[in-house]
């Protein structure tokens, strides 16, 4: 079904010829490609926390020794949790507390969407976070898993390391692998379709809790 390929390309070439040659103009890049705040600095983290809270995510900033307790708090009364294969041990320990059912999403036997729909929560790591826009990026790494597991359960807990927090969008883009399936998350799912009033939680997870380990 590529019958129109040459036709369309031909039309584009003809159109460009009609409108006359356009001299290649260099693209100006005067915008900020780096922020003033160092990655992982207290100021960068403060900015990220502010932006995340503004979008109604719940945030805890904790010391490394407190991770297990913080993740357990974030999971609250969730009775079941799905985890990717490569979650760090201290995070996994929190999932297993309080008699919670822990379901591993293994590549050999991936859970179906219907199975995921029966699970209360998901806990993952992340690739990088952007303080200026309150955005956390997942790239499907071993501590993040398939895209579906962070989508169907209603509560998403993300554990971020402080050194993963950069200030600006360009700094984050530079760290990403374009061939990975990427999901950028800025707060819980939301709609503004009814009188432009923001309502959190339409189809994705209704609650986003972020644990930043500093």
């Amino acid at each position: 079904m590529t019958g129109s390929r040459e036709a369309v390309l031909g039309r584009i070439r003809a159109a460009l010829a009609t409108a006359g040659p356009v001299a290649a103009q260099p693209v100006p890049r005067e915008y900020d490609r780096r922020g003033a705040l160092a990655p992982g600095s207290p100021e960068a983290i403060e900015l990220l926390v502010d932006r995340l809270i503004d979008y109604r995510a719940e945030v805890q900033v904790v010391a490394p020794a407190e991770v297990t307790a913080a993740v357990a708090r974030a999971l609250g009364d969730a009775a079941s949790v799905v985890v990717p294969r490569g979650l760090p041990d201290d995070v996994l320990a929190a999932c297993e507390q309080d008699g919670r059912q822990v379901v591993g999403d293994l590549s050999e036997i991936p859970l179906t969407a219907a199975q995921l729909d029966g699970i209360d929560a998901v806990v993952t790591g992340a690739r990088v976070a952007i303080a200026l826009s309150g955005t956390i990026v997942l790239d499907g790494g071993p501590d993040q898993g398939r895209r579906a597991i962070t989508l169907v359960p209603d509560l998403h807990v993300i554990v971020l390391r402080a050194d993963q927090v950069v200030q600006t969008v360009p700094e984050a883009i530079a760290l990403l692998d374009p061939t990975a399936p990427l999901t950028m998350i800025s707060g819980p799912s939301a709609t503004s379709d009814i009188e432009l009033q923001r309502v959190e939680g339409v189809h994705g997870p209704r609650t986003l809790r972020v644990v930043i380990v500093g």
Binding site: Y31, P170, I173
Partner: protein, 496 residues
């Protein structure tokens, strides 16, 4: 600039019900819509809300103007190198297990999508809101072929259930208020809870319940794309509700319909557009969800990936300076939200799926203007030329200048090429409006007219060539304040 009307047409006479052409001229349609006070109230409320949000988050970025300059230059570069970038995109997407299809027009795109759906054996697809699929009338086409297309965006769902048409690029149900939406849900949605109120949260949750089953069982999804990245073969969808993520990751087959102008040269260019788009469109620092995929990822998401590259008039537009500039548009809808004409008439008056200031330029460029009786020939007049759209546009499309050029062409055409007074005036206006300093100077000049007008506030005689105009009517004296000055004074929140 060339002086022929519109652009050469390759495909003629759309049916009157084409998604790109209404059945009546803009003034006729606008008159009817203006008679609906509820519509005006809903729109005024919604656009005022979004304008205030946009101004606040744009004001936060010290490098906003630099981002606009960069965005504008990147799009100009894309247009100049389009064949090469499309081939690059195709090679990269194919190398990672995707399939690329090319569609010359709406019919061909619809046929390609239908065949792809048929090959899966499915008789239902879930859909992400997309301008490209609206433009080709894909839902209607699929229905005719016995395939149900389920819109999963809340606003599109409201429109679909209300047997209505979208009226805004980004918020298709912007013309509806909460009470109207509640009534639509109660009468059209199966299994709504007893006593559903008009609280937006309750309404959103009703939609969640309604669609969840569809998401979990769907085998095929259809999307558009906000960006396609040439060097990596990446597709990008920007959304809020998570319905996009559901469609993009849960089904086995994903078919994306993307206009050929949606490319960006490099992955790094996303750093510009992921800042410009959300702040301009919904007034957010970043939209809740952005999904990026570059071909098939084994074990994660759809394993059968397709993209349909759509022309459908874009090469017509590309052959022309006005059209080429309009193709820079990233469909953020900022120009709609600041437009005083759109705010009063609503989107339906434009007759096209692309309403508002950019729709008034883009629509006639995509379809061509087929003489005086073509409703799309009236679109370049659907503007007060106040300039607010140009100020708001994240990629700096000078919409007022493009509209004036299109008006001049339509006048040329009707005169059979004979230059006349009106034509000369439009050419002069085009020159004045192409430069903000000249425009401001001209606005000051208008104050002179007040003195000429004298005490009865009317100018009865003008020097040629404008004397033809004043022979048959008095020209009201220019107002004491220019529109732009008045707007600035009454909309202080706009001062980003």
């Amino acid at each position: 600039m060339t002086t022929f009307l519109g652009v050469p047409l390759r495909r003629h006479a759309h049916a009157p019900e084409s998604p790109l052409r209404g059945t009546e001229s803009f003034p006729q349609a606008a008159r009817r819509e203006l008679a609906n006070p509820q519509l005006r109230a809903n729109l005024a409320h919604a656009t005022a809300t979004i304008r205030a949000k946009r101004a606040a988050v744009v004001g936060e970025l010290a490098d906003w103007e630099a981002l606009r300059d960069s965005g504008s230059a990147i799009k100009a570069d894309v247009m100049a190198r389009l064949p090469e970038l499309l081939e690059q995109f195709e090679a990269a997407f194919t190398a990672r297990g995707g399939t690329v299809h090319w569609a010359a027009d709406a019919d061909e795109a619809n046929r390609i999508v239908t065949e792809l759906v048929r090959a899966t054996g499915a008789d239902e697809v879930i859909k992400i809101k997309s301008m490209a699929t609206q433009e080709i009338g894909l839902n209607e086409y699929l229905e005719e072929q016995g395939i149900a297309a389920v819109e999963t965006d809340l606003a599109e769902l409201i429109v679909q259930l209300g047997h209505d048409k979208p009226s805004h690029i980004l918020v298709p149900a912007i013309h509806r208020n909460r009470t109207e939406i509640r009534d639509i849900f109660v009468s059209e949605m199966t299994g709504v809870v007893e006593g559903l109120t008009d609280d937006p949260r309750e309404l959103a949750m009703a939609a969640r319940t309604h669609l969840r089953r569809k998401f979990l069982s769907a085998r095929v999804a259809v999307s558009g794309a906000n960006f396609g990245i040439a060097d990596t073969g990446t597709l990008c969808v920007v959304e809020s509700e998570g319905n996009g993520r559901m469609c993009l990751t849960l089904p086995d087959t994903l078919i994306t319909v993307m206009g050929i102008e949606k490319l960006l040269p490099t992955f790094a260019d996303l750093e510009v557009f992921l800042q410009l788009l959300p702040r301009s469109s919904t007034g957010e620092r970043m939209n809740p969800y952005t999904s990026l995929w570059s071909g098939v990822t084994p074990g994660d998401g759809p394993q059968d990936l397709h993209v349909v590259l759509l022309d459908n008039g874009r090469t017509n537009a590309l052959a022309d300076e006005v059209g080429r500039a309009a193709l820079h548009c990233i469909r953020c809808s900022a120009c709609l939200n600041v437009c005083p004409v759109y705010e009063r008439t609503g989107g339906h008056a434009y007759g096209s799926v692309y309403p508002g200031p950019i729709g008034a330029v883009l629509t006639p460029q995509l379809t061509g203007m087929q003489g005086h009786d073509d409703p799309n020939a009236s679109l370049p007049y659907a503007s007060s030329l106040c300039g607010a759209c140009y100020d708001a546009c994240p990629v700096k499309i000078n919409i007022p200048e493009l509209l004036v050029e299109l008006r001049a062409r339509s006048v040329d055409d009707e005169r059979g090429g004979m230059p006349g007074g009106w034509d000369a005036a439009m050419k002069a206006a085009s020159w004045v409006m192409s430069d903000p300093k000249r425009f401001a100077a001209a606005e000051k000049g208008l104050q002179l007219g007040r003195i000429v007008a004298g005490r009865d506030r009317k100018i009865s005689t003008l020097p040629p060539p404008l004397s033809g105009w004043t022979q048959s009517r008095d020209l009201p004296a220019p107002p004491a304040q220019t529109f732009r000055a008045w707007w600035r004074e009454t909309h202080p929140e706009e001062q980003a």
